[in-house]
Symmetry: C2
C-alpha cells in the first residue's frame, strides 16, 4: 500500500496537520520541522492522495479538454499544447472527442464538468446561447471561438487574411477566390470578413464560392466552382481544403501555381508534403492550447469567479504567412485583369 500522511507524520515525529502544512503552506512551518517532514516524505515515497484532497478542497487537480476530432491534425496539436502546459502545473487532463457531433457536444461537456475543475472547449460547434448556459455552472475557456463573456484564445483571422492577400496581390493577382468552411464556423465568418477588407484595401476583387466541409473532400468539391470564377488565386478555409483543391485542380489539368495560386490556413504537417508544397497562414496551434490552460488556471485560482467576471480574459494569436510552391506570379493573360 502507498504511504499515507499519517505514516509520514509518525516517521517525522509530528502530527498529520503539520505534514499537510509543510507540503502546502511551507511558510507556516518551522524550517527544521519542514526538513524532517521532507525527509520522511522522501523516505516513504509519499504522494498525497488526490481523491482525498479533492474531497475536502473541492478541487480535483484535473481539467477537461473537448475537441471535435482528435484525428484532425489541427486539434491534435492544440491537444499537445494543453497537455504540455497542464503537466507543467501538475494538472491532469481528461480528453474528450465529440467525433464532430454537435449534438453530443453539450452533453459531453456537462458530463466532463462534474469530474474536473474546468474545461477547455476547442472550436465548439454549439450556439452562443448553449455556450453561455454551460459557462454558467462550469469554468470554461474557449479556443478558436469567441463568445460574449467567456474567456478564450482566438486567432487574428483578419490579420492572417491580410497577409495572404498582400502576398497574392504582390504576385500580380487581382481576382481572388475564397472557399469558405462550414457556415456555422466562427472562423469562416472572420476569415471571410478579413478577406473582404484586405481585398478592398489592396484594390483586388474577391470571388466567394460558398461553404464547404472543412475537409479534403470539401476542397475537391469546391475546385470546379473556383475555376469557374476566373480567379487566378484562391484562398481556402484551411489546409485540408486547399489540398483537396490541389488534387481536383490537377485532375482538371490545371497547373499550380502557373494557372492558379493556392493558399491554405493552419500549416498542418501535411501541407509541406503536398505537391506543390502549400503556401499557408501558419497558426500557432500548440500555443493556443498552452494559453488556454493558463487562462483556465488563472480563473480557477481567482476567488472572484462569478460567471462573466473573467470576460475580459482573452488571448489573441497571430498567424504567419508561410510561402511555399503553391503560389506564384499571376498568369499574364488572365481573365479580369486590367487591359
Amino acid at each position: 500500500m502507498a504511504a499515507t500522511i499519517r505514516d509520514v507524520a509518525r516517521l517525522a515525529g509530528v502530527s498529520a496537520s503539520t505534514v499537510s502544512r509543510a507540503l502546502s503552506l511551507p511558510g507556516m512551518v518551522n524550517g527544521a520541522t519542514r526538513a524532517r517532514v521532507a525527509a520522511a516524505v522522501e523516505q516513504l515515497g509519499y504522494e498525497p492522495n488526490r481523491a482525498a484532497r479533492g474531497l475536502i478542497t473541492g478541487r480535483t487537480g484535473t481539467i477537461g479538454l473537448v475537441v471535435p476530432d482528435l484525428a484532425n491534425p489541427f486539434f491534435a496539436s492544440v491537444t499537445k499544447g494543453v497537455q504540455e502546459r497542464a503537466r507543467r502545473h501538475d494538472v491532469a487532463v481528461f480528453v474528450a472527442d465529440t467525433d464532430e457531433d454537435p449534438a453530443a457536444e453539450a452533453g459531453l461537456v456537462r458530463a466532463l464538468a462534474k469530474q474536473v475543475d474546468g474545461v477547455v472547449l476547442c472550436s465548439p460547434r454549439a450556439s452562443d446561447e448553449e455556450l453561455t448556459a454551460i459557462a454558467q455552472d462550469t469554468t470554461v475557456v474557449l479556443v478558436n471561438r469567441a463568445a460574449a463573456g467567456i474567456p478564450g484564445v482566438t486567432y487574428d483571422n483578419e490579420g492572417g487574411m491580410r497577409q495572404a492577400v498582400a502576398h497574392l496581390v504582390a504576385l500580380g493577382h487581382h481576382r481572388i477566390a475564397w472557399v469558405g468552411g462550414p457556415s456555422t464556423s466562427w472562423s469562416t465568418k472572420h476569415r471571410g470578413l478579413g478577406l473582404r477588407n484586405a481585398v478592398e484595401e489592396l484594390h483586388a476583387k474577391l470571388a466567394p464560392v460558398g461553404n464547404f466541409a472543412p475537409t479534403y473532400e470539401g476542397g475537391m468539391a469546391a475546385a470546379d466552382q473556383v475555376i469557374a470564377t476566373g480567379a487566378t488565386a484562391v484562398v481556402a478555409y484551411n489546409d485540408l481544403v486547399a489540398i483537396g483543391l490541389l488534387a481536383r485542380l490537377h485532375a482538371r489539368g490545371l497547373s499550380v501555381p502557373a494557372d492558379l495560386s493556392v493558399v491554405g490556413v493552419d500549416d498542418i504537417a501535411m501541407s509541406s508534403m503536398a505537391r506543390p508544397a502549400l503556401t499557408t497562414v501558419r497558426l500557432p496551434k500548440q500555443e493556443a492550447g498552452r494559453i488556454a490552460v493558463e487562462l483556465l488556471l488563472a480563473m480557477l485560482d481567482d476567488p472572484e469567479s462569478p460567471a462573466g467576471t473573467h470576460g475580459e480574459l482573452h488571448g489573441e494569436l497571430h498567424g504567419e504567412l508561410i510561402v511555399r510552391d503553391s503560389t506564384g506570379p499571376a498568369p499574364h493573360n488572365q481573365k479580369g485583369a486590367p487591359a
Copy 2:
C-alpha cells in the same frame, strides 16, 4: 451545490446506505424502495461523487493512455478508439503524450499510474525490462508491442506483409526493397521478418535498405538507396515514410508506379490524398484502442490480478491490403528479372 447521497436518502425516506445499495447492488433492495430512490435521484439530479467513492473503493474510474506523439495520425486514431470505448464504460481517460522522448516515458507512466486504475501504453519505446518493472506495480496493457507476461493488442505484421508481397509478385515484381523503421521498433522487426518469409515463399528477392526515422523525412532519406537496389517495388515501414519516398522519387524523376511501385503500412488519411494515392496495408487503429480498453477493464475487474496472471490476455488484429495508384505492373526490362 450538487446533491449528496444524504439529500437523496432524506427525500426517499431511507438511509444513505440504502441509497448506496440501490445504486450499486440493486438486487439487494426491495423493488418499491428502489423505485423511490430512483425517483429521488432523478428529481435531485444526483450523481455520486467519484472522489468520495474512490477514496473508499480504491478505484478511480479513470484509466491512463500514454502515446509517443498525438500529432502522429496513427496515435491519434488509437486514442480515439480508447476514448470511445472508455466512455461507453463510463470511465474517463487521462491522455499523456511523451513527445517521442523515450527517457520521459517511464516517469510519465509512473506519475500517471498513481492517479488511475490502469494504463494503456501505446507503442512504448521502453525496453522489455522497464516494461516488466512497470507492470509489476501497475495494471498495464500494451498496444502495438508484445512483451512477455504483459497483456496487449498487436497487429499481425507477418500476415500484412504477406498480402503486400503477394500483390506485388502478382504484378510481376521480383525484387522488392524494404525500408525499415527505427531499429528498436518492435514492428520493424516483425514486418522485416514477415517480408523475408513471404518473399521466400513466393520466390522473389528482398533488398533491405536499412533503418530510417518513421517519418516523411525518413522516406526522403531512404529513396536514393531504394533506387540503387534496382528493385521495381518497395515496401515502406509506414505511410509517412512511403509518402516521403514518393516525394524524393518524384524529385529524382522516377515515376510511380511506372518505374517503381510503392507500398505503405497504416492507411492514415493522408495516404489517399497522396499523389499517386498510396497502396497500403490498412491497420485497424481505433479497434486496437477499443480492445486495449476491454482488456484493461477485464484485468481490473478480475480479482486475481497478480502480475503475470493475465499474460495470456492478448488480441491480434489483422491488416487489410488497400490497393491504390502507387502500385502497378513491373516494368518490362527490369533489372534482375528472369531472362
